[in-house]
Symmetry: C2
């Protein structure tokens, strides 16, 4: 994970609407959620949602799988863990801040 990629992912999550979309997908768990359901739950117009989903897909934070006419969206846990890990490493590499102290021990 380099700086630019991390920045891209952070930027993707750095928008209230997209963060809500992502949060919704995370809470949906492994089953994922069709685009239409996200749209319905958050009350976002389809085209707007589609743009945001593109952004999340592009950065790898979300994956999609077609099931008949609907597209199932899922939060990518590996991507999220990669990002959290990057932040935690940057934060704790040279300073004792405790966040990942358990892992280090």
């Amino acid at each position: 994970m380099n700086v630019e990629q991390a920045a891209k992912q952070l930027e993707a999550l750095g928008n209230t609407t997209r963060l809500q979309v992502y949060r919704t997908l995370v809470r949906a768990g492994e089953a994922g959620l069709p685009v239409g359901q996200i749209q319905e739950r958050l009350g976002i117009p389809p085209s707007t949602l589609s743009h945001h989903l593109q952004r999340l897909l592009l950065t790898g934070l979300v994956t999609q799988e077609r099931q008949a006419t609907t597209l199932i969206c899922r939060a990518s846990y590996p991507a999220m863990n990669g990002l959290i890990g990057y932040l935690a490493d940057e934060c704790c590499a040279d300073a004792g801040c405790g966040t990942r102290a358990e892992n280090a021990a």
Copy 2:
């Protein structure tokens, strides 16, 4: 930590330049770093850097302390931990992805 605040912080870090600034400050540790030194290390024009620092200050990710004519900047570990915690919780709340499994146990 609500969605909008988290999004603001993520957006603040979601820019290559600002992430580099933040990274530099984290690596500087408790001692912090004067604005001028950041500027010198990263080769950013003063005014540009100042704007980015304002953004990081505004979201609470960075703090400043005056020492004579120089301003010492420091990464705020509590803020960072809050953000990482928010992401980790969102990620792991309803799904087993392992990142904070140690804490839960």
